[in-house]
């Protein structure tokens, strides 16, 4: 199908940080942060016109340093956080900050990316506040409260998890509580995720091979999956529809699905990548669709029906179909409800460090590889109709 062809966008810098604009529900929009030690770093705002298959972009300058992590506020479209490297006196420090996009970028004409003039006068981000964590070490990521009002963020810095309250229209950040991981050696959080369930009172973090759950009300650990992966855990994601289900991925090339009520065994394990898996994401609406990106340069879309919130599909619809389209129903019943790989996307030529679903269109996702290539793909139509019908 013509419109199933991937859309590729190339950045001129290397990049690791990708997020969809969470608060935006109409336009398909992704934010990419670049990594460059020699030039000013940028945040690319990439809009995708689904009907015309056209990408348009705006560039904002992020002069503070190279971006390792980016995340957008769920409440305010214009607010975002980054984790960035700052080099000073031959020391490299990673900091977190909350930014506001200048109001003009949106009103500014969406010029074609080919227009060379556009990139000459990029606008700067407006700094709202620093998540000042110099006493806590290097920030690895900043997490917004899911579906919140944009007043709370958590930053993970070395072995600390810090809960910040943003006040005065986000210009001030104060630490309201914190948790510290104690143990032998230099412990360091590598990834984290704020659970959208339980009134947003839970946090999951990864350090080395372990996954830990935290209760934010008491800032204490509630569960710990030791040796969740054979090697480092790289990323986590919560199933948006099943409150105890969690996906993790790591350097053992595996993606594991956990029920945190029974942490002895993973519910399911996928072993499809041939190198480390750096990112795993559940689809926001149809949680059987799981996206993974790996340093084997592949993105894999899997259909994990058996552990999804819709393990049997839409049973109700079968009745509607039965009276007219017997053929169709036959096909439907013949199709086994089995977990399967839907598709493997090989458009990247370097390690894929980030994948993200669009917040506006549940059938669309973006993946970003280190060489700065952003690829936008769609869920295959056949599957989409199969899920919907």
């Amino acid at each position: 199908m013509e419109d199933d062809a991937p859309v590729i966008y190339g950045l001129e810098f290397q990049a690791r940080a990708l997020t969809s604009q969470t608060a935006e529900s109409d336009a398909i929009r992704f934010l990419v942060g670049t990594q460059s030690l020699k030039f000013d770093n940028q945040i690319h705002i990439i809009d995708f016109d689904d009907e015309n298959n056209i990408i348009s972009k705006s560039v904002l300058q992020h002069q503070a340093g190279e971006i390792w992590h980016i995340s957008a506020s769920p409440a305010d479209k214009a607010v975002l956080t980054t984790c960035y490297n700052k080099t000073s006196e031959s020391r490299v420090v990673t900091c977190g900050a909350v930014w506001r996009m200048p109001p003009e970028w949106e009103s500014g004409s969406h010029e074609s990316p080919d227009d060379p003039h556009n990139s000459h006068n990029p606008q700067n981000l407006e700094l709202l506040c620093h998540l000042d964590n110099s006493s806590h070490g290097n920030a690895s990521c900043v997490l917004w409260e899911p579906m919140g009002d944009g007043k709370h963020v958590i930053s993970l810095a070395d072995n600390h998890a810090l809960l910040w309250d943003l006040t005065e229209s986000s210009t001030q950040a104060t630490i309201s509580s914190s948790a510290t991981l104690e143990g032998k050696g230099q412990l360091k959080f590598t990834a984290g995720k704020w659970s959208p369930h339980h009134n947003c009172t839970q946090l999951a973090t990864a350090n080395d091979t372990a996954i830990r759950g935290w209760d934010l009300r008491t800032m204490s650990q509630i569960y710990c999956i030791e040796n969740a992966h054979g090697q480092l855990v790289r990323d986590l994601d919560f199933n948006p529809n099943k409150q105890y289900y969690l996906a993790s991925c790591g350097d053992d090339c595996k993606v594991k699905f956990w029920d945190v009520r029974n942490i002895n065994e993973p519910v399911k394990t996928l072993e499809e990548h041939s190198h480390w898996v750096w990112s795993v994401r559940f689809n926001h609406s149809h949680d059987q669709l799981v996206l993974t990106g790996s340093s084997d340069s592949r993105v894999i879309l899997s259909n994990m029906v058996s552990i999804s919130s819709e393990p049997f599909g839409h049973l109700v619809d079968d009745d509607d179909l039965s009276d007219g389209e017997d053929n169709h129903q036959d096909e439907k019943t013949q199709e086994p409800l089995q977990d399967s790989i839907i598709s493997t996307y090989e458009e990247h030529e370097d390690s894929v460090y980030a994948v993200e679903w669009s917040s506006a269109d549940p059938w669309l996702f973006a993946s970003l590889s280190y060489d700065g290539r952003l690829v936008i793909n769609r869920v295959p139509r056949a599957l989409k109709y199969h899920i919907l019908l």
Binding site: G10, E12, D114, G230, S274, D296
Partner: protein, 861 residues
């Protein structure tokens, strides 16, 4: 006359043989006398011709005319003379005959006259005889008339005599019976009583007889009582017992009751036998050859099957005397005892019972009661009940037979058990006992196969543990004697540690031997001289399903499966399996795939003449499974080894402060370690796997210079035109390379050869290096250090891999990425790098000089 005819005939008729002519003469005579019945047909045939001179229709006119017409004068003359001669001879014949007959007539007349005289004399004598006879009759009638009175008297007297004798017998009967009772001549008593019984019954209305009858009854009751007592006591022998039963039957005891009594009596005795057997089962002493190991042979021998099992040198009899003198009997003795005591007395009981109740000639009123059917029914129930108990005991005993050492003992015991039951089958044709017995044997055989499978499996696991220990044993100075002896290998006494190939060969040889010995002992079940071996189960199902599938195939599957488990369990949780073991097992599975499985299955099929009625697992399926296991193990080996090296590299990258590092003067120790480890892995793999194919490499690969970042920095764009013309920061060369090169699969399946394995490990390590580098920020000297390290790796790693370009590519990527992550990218001069690296090469202990190319050796000072 004959002579005459002969002399005259030759002219006209052809010379005839004598008998023919004679017949003709006779025929003519018969004709003459009118006796022509015989030659009729012939004559009729001839007779039609009027020219036939001998025929009845002879017409002289026709004949003459014919002659005259046909013959010449000479011939007519001849004919005439011939005719005259014949007439003449016929006349003389006739004269002779007349003369003979006359003579005979004369002599006959004489004889008749003589007879007439004789008859007259005889008639007189006959008359005299008849008168005499009449007088005799008369006398005889007179005598019998006189004697008749006396004769009647005598008859009456003799009748009285017999009656008296009978009466005397009757009167004496009580006394006689008493005496018999005293003498215990029961049989005599019963027969006497039987003789008198009806008479007494008949005359019981007379008081005197009534008295006798009562007396007799009393006595007989007493006797019956005594007999019953005797019967009940049970002390008597079977023969006595049967006699008792016979007598009681004659005394009109109810047969059913007798059957019951007989059987219950027999039961009590058989039960005693059963209790004896049970008593042997009861003491569960802790014993057994399994628990004891001969100090000289080690645990590996616990399974070994004595070639002469069953002989007094069998392991159980060897060990038992020392262990527990009161130890229980072995199974053969047990079965023997069961057979000799229980089964034989059961047979005896059945035989005598049948003799008594079933096969006895039926007489009198007994016949009407249909005893045999009732008796047979009772017997069946009785035998079944007892046999069931016996079988349960036997089964319990068989189940206790856990030690797999001496199978022949079990087989012989089963054989005996089965054989003895055939006797029961012969005695009692309709009984279910023999088939139940066969079933027990079948079950025991099945159980045995399971035990052997378990034993094989545990042997395999033990062998693996041994191998593991051997691998874990310190390489230097560690004596491997224990290992060698455990595996029965040749390494005993050697000081050098067992090498991988040795371990592999001893492992596979010992497993194979074990399988062979197990097959040999299982084979006993189907030996020719074993009675049950020709049962359908042992001919078909046992061989194909039992031995081939449950034992051999299952064991092979177990080997594959347990090997696979090493990959799964040890994978995530910190690799408890030593990599060398993985490698060894992988090779083992591969060997299985190429030859061993085929060999084992062929061996089995040959030994057991397996006829595949039901579908069996194909060799190819098993081989596939083994190959899959081998592949999985090897992949896992690569993964584990790659991981070990990766961890070293990762730690080395992550822990260092690359921004503030000093100018590189040396290759980092980690890199040396990496090369060292890779070399030792290379050696390790080389011991078990072939070299494999590698692409031809350039003559001085170690000297290749890096196309480092600085040379590739050009302001050109690789991507299509939609990227804006911002300052380029991407590594052109690397990107172009990627465009045209194959995608590198990092954790990909490897082939079964050394080069492929090493390629896999190096790929994993270098990719880790790359990813770690990308997460760090470097200063100028950090970059230079990485350059040095990469060059060093370049110098040594290319020779291990199948395609050196792969190493180049990955190392380029590393250096390129480092340059990107560098705050002050000022690369080091290539010549300086080379100097540092070569200096580094001399510093490390020269590992395996053979693998170092002469070029780099010669450059060492």
């Amino acid at each position: 006359m004959d002579g005459d005819i002969n002399a005259t005939a030759p002219g006209t008729t052809p010379p005839d043989t004598d008998p023919a002519r004679k017949r003709r003469v006779h025929g003519m005579l018969k004709l003459y006398y009118g006796l022509n019945e015989e030659g009729k047909t012939v004559d009729q045939a001839e007779s039609m011709d009027p020219c036939d001179i001998n025929g009845p229709h002879f017409d002289p006119e026709v004949y003459l005319n014919k002659l005259r017409r046909e013959c010449s004068l000479g011939e007519l003359m001849d004919q005439e003379t011939c005719m005259v001669k014949q007439i003449r001879s016929l006349d003389s014949d006739m004269q002779t005959l007349v003369y003979e007959n006359y003579n005979k007539f004369i002599s006959a007349t004489d004889t008749i006259r003589k007879m007439k005289n004789d008859f007259k004399k005889m008639e007189d004598e006959m008359d005299c005889l008849s008168t005499n006879m009449a007088s005799i009759t008369d006398f005889s009638a007179r005598i019998s008339g006189t004697l008749q009175d006396q004769h009647a008297q005598i008859t009456k007297l003799s009748g009285v005599h017999t009656l008296l004798r009978k009466l005397q017998f009757l009167f004496e009967l009580p006394a006689r019976l008493n005496k018999c009772l005293e003498l215990q001549a029961y049989a005599q008593a019963v027969s006497s009583h039987r003789r008198a019984r009806c008479v007494l019954q008949q005359y019981s209305h007379m008081p005197s007889f009534r008295g006798i009858q009562d007396d007799c009854h009393a006595i007989m009751d007493k006797l019956a009582q005594e007999l019953r007592q005797k019967f009940r006591d049970g002390g008597s022998s079977a023969k006595d017992l049967s006699e008792c039963v016979e007598l009681l039957l004659q005394l009109d005891e109810p047969a059913e009751e007798l059957c019951d009594k007989f059987l219950s009596h027999a039961q009590s005795r058989l039960e005693a036998d059963l209790l004896g057997l049970e008593a042997e089962l009861r003491p569960p002493l802790s014993y057994g050859p399994t628990a004891v190991t001969d100090p000289y042979t080690g645990p590996a021998h616990r399974l070994s099957v004595e070639p002469t099992a069953g002989s007094p040198t069998g392991p159980s009899s060897l060990n038992n005397p020392f262990l527990s003198p009161s130890s229980r009997t072995d199974i053969l003795e047990f079965i023997d005892r069961g057979c000799n005591e229980f089964v034989s007395s059961l047979c005896l009981v059945i035989a005598s019972y049948q003799e008594l109740f079933v096969n006895r000639p039926q007489e009198g009123e007994l016949a009407s009661k249909n005893i045999p059917q009732m008796a047979i029914g009772k017997l069946h129930a009785f035998v079944d009940a007892l046999a069931t108990r016996y079988f349960s005991l036997v089964e319990r005993r068989i189940q206790e037979e856990k030690s797999v050492g001496d199978n022949s003992l079990l087989v012989r015991a089963l054989d005996r058990f089965h054989r003895r039951l055939q006797a029961v089958a012969k005695l009692l044709p309709g009984s279910a006992v023999p088939s139940q017995g066969t079933e027990i044997v079948v079950r025991a055989a099945r159980e045995r196969i399971k035990q052997y499978l378990a034993a094989l499996q545990s042997f395999y696991l033990n062998s693996l543990t041994d191998v593991r220990q051997a691998l874990a044993a310190p390489r230097l100075g560690g004596s491997s004697a224990g290992v060698g002896s455990h595996l029965g290998g040749p390494a005993t006494g050697k000081e050098a540690p067992a090498s991988l190939p040795e371990l592999l060969s001893t492992l596979s040889a010992s497993i194979l031997n074990q399988i062979k010995s197990v097959l040999a002992s299982v084979h006993l079940f189907t030996a020719k001289d074993i009675t049950f071996s020709n049962k359908p189960y042992f001919k078909g199902d046992f061989c194909s399903h039992g031995v081939r599938e449950s034992l051999v195939v299952n064991f092979i599957k177990f080997v594959c499966q347990s090997s696979r488990q090493f990959c799964e369990s040890a994978g995530d949780r910190g690799g408890s399996t030593p990599p060398a073991l993985l490698l060894l097992l992988s090779r083992l599975c591969l060997d299985y795939e190429t030859s061993t499985i085929t060999y084992i299955l062929t061996l089995t099929d040959e030994q057991f003449l397996v006829q595949h009625h039901s579908p069996v697992t194909a060799v190819t399926a098993l081989c596939g499974e083994a190959r899959e296991a081998a592949q999985k193990l090897l992949n896992h080996y690569v993964k584990v080894q790659g991981l070990i090296i990766s961890q070293m590299l990762r730690k080395s990258v992550e822990t260092r402060d690359w921004v503030n590092t000093i100018e590189p003067r040396n290759v980092r120790a980690v890199m040396k370690r990496v090369v060292e480890d890779t070399t030792s892995i290379d050696v390790q793999v080389g011991l078990l796997y072939e070299e494999g194919v590698r692409k031809a490499h350039s003559s001085d690969s170690s000297k290749r210079t890096f196309s480092v970042y600085s040379s590739s920095r050009q302001q050109t764009r690789y991507a299509p035109s939609y990227t804006p013309s911002a300052p380029m920061d991407t590594n052109l060369l690397s990107n172009i390379h990627k465009l045209f090169s194959e995608r590198v699969e990092i954790f990909s399946p490897v082939e079964f050869n050394k080069v492929s394995v090493l390629t896999g490990i190096i790929k994993i390590s270098l990719k880790t290096f790359l990813e770690c580098v990308r997460l760090r920020t470097f200063g100028r000297y950090g970059l230079q250090q990485i350059q040095v390290d990469c060059h060093y790796l370049q110098m040594y790693l290319w020779r291990f891999v199948s395609d050196e370009n792969l190493v180049h590519f990955l190392l380029d990527e590393i250096v390129g990425s480092t340059a990107h992550r560098c705050l002050d990218p000022a690369p080091m001069e290539q010549s300086v790098i080379e100097v540092i690296c070569e200096r580094g090469a001399t510093c490390i202990p020269v590992f395996l000089p053979l693998t170092v190319p002469p070029a780099s050796l010669s450059s060492c000072p």
